[in-house]
Amino acid sequence: MKAKIHVTLKQGILDPQGKAIEHALDSLGFKNAANVRVGKYMELDLDEKDKAKAEVEVRQMCEKLLANTIIEEYRYELG
């Protein structure tokens, strides 16, 4: 089973990288973009056929290591 995980900063946490990219887009003429936020994308192969069990495992991975839940939130897809 493949797990695709997105880790992003929580709303309300300042994202200076996002701001820098937003300004760069603006300078390039893309005046319609706002609220750029930068996150992480990770994927991994999980040796587990049971989707429910896989979900528990991926969530534990996120809670324990992949995301710092003080400042980040995560979502994942299993397939």
Binding site: N68, I70, I71
Partner: protein, 241 residues
């Protein structure tokens, strides 16, 4: 005193820390590889600066799971003195030994320069040799020093005098201009509620001897040794941790 300096893959300030304790302050220093699980007879532990695990995933995120951290946590739980400097501070945060988290510097730049910090709490084991409100000049060198915590935790920390060092102007004013990285409340160093664990972003080990032209950092280490000496002189009470 016997000081343990933990070395993670990627730590690079371990030798500077060892040098200060061993050569400048004449203490016994043991370098502790991150795979060690038994720590015996140490009076204090240093988590030094550097780039443990290349700052992969998040700075300090992987080092916090190194085998040695179990023993460091036990040591801290038993009241042992732990100082985390820069990456060491980041590791203590990820390990939950200190509250909060580090974000990327607001400017997105790696900032390497002398800054001024104000001693907000001179009653800690790490600042006992300082005056309250004293301004120390200590260099920083980091890209992720933007301290963050939620408002509830911040209020508790303020009430508990857990904020030990704040970025300030040379004459001790805590202003936004004096804040190099956007850190919440200009926070540069904090302790845990029990007062035995400190995390600080500036590098006191880089300014602890006269030859380097700045000895302000030495006060942190001298404070630690004084606190340890005092603790030794207290008769141990039955049941004390």
């Amino acid at each position: 005193m016997k000081i343990g300096v933990v070395v993670f893959p990627g730590s690079n300030c371990d030798h500077d820390c060892a040098h200060v304790f061993r050569n400048v302050l004449g203490q016994y220093v043991e370098m502790i590889w991150h795979k060690e699980t038994l720590l015996k007879g140490l009076d204090a532990i240093v988590l030094p600066g550097g780039f443990s695990y290349g700052d992969y995933l998040r700075t300090g995120a992987i080092a916090r799971f190194s085998p040695v951290m179990g023993a460091v946590k036990e040591f801290a739980k038993g009241g042992g003195m732990v100082i985390g400097i820069c990456n060491g501070f980041q590791i203590l945060l990820e390990a939950g030994l200190l509250p909060g988290a580090m974000l990327r510097n607001e400017s997105l730049n790696f900032i390497c320069k002398d800054v001024y910090v104000k001693v907000e709490n001179a009653a800690t084991a790490f600042t006992g040799s300082c005056e309250s409100g004293q301004v120390l000049k200590i260099p920083i060198a980091h890209a992720d020093g933007n301290y963050y915590t939620d408002p509830v935790t911040l209020a508790a920390m303020q009430a508990n005098a857990q904020i030990v060092l704040r970025y300030c102007t040379p004459d001790g004013k805590v202003t936004p201009e004096a804040n190099p990285n956007g850190s919440l409340d200009n926070i540069a160093g904090i302790i845990n509620p029990e007062g035995n664990v400190i995390g600080m972003m500036p590098h006191p080990e880089r300014c602890a001897e006269e030859m380097l032209g700045n000895e302000d950092g030495r006060l942190i280490f001298v404070s630690m040794l004084d606190a340890l000496k005092k603790a030794r002189q207290q008769p141990k009470m039955v049941g004390a941790g």
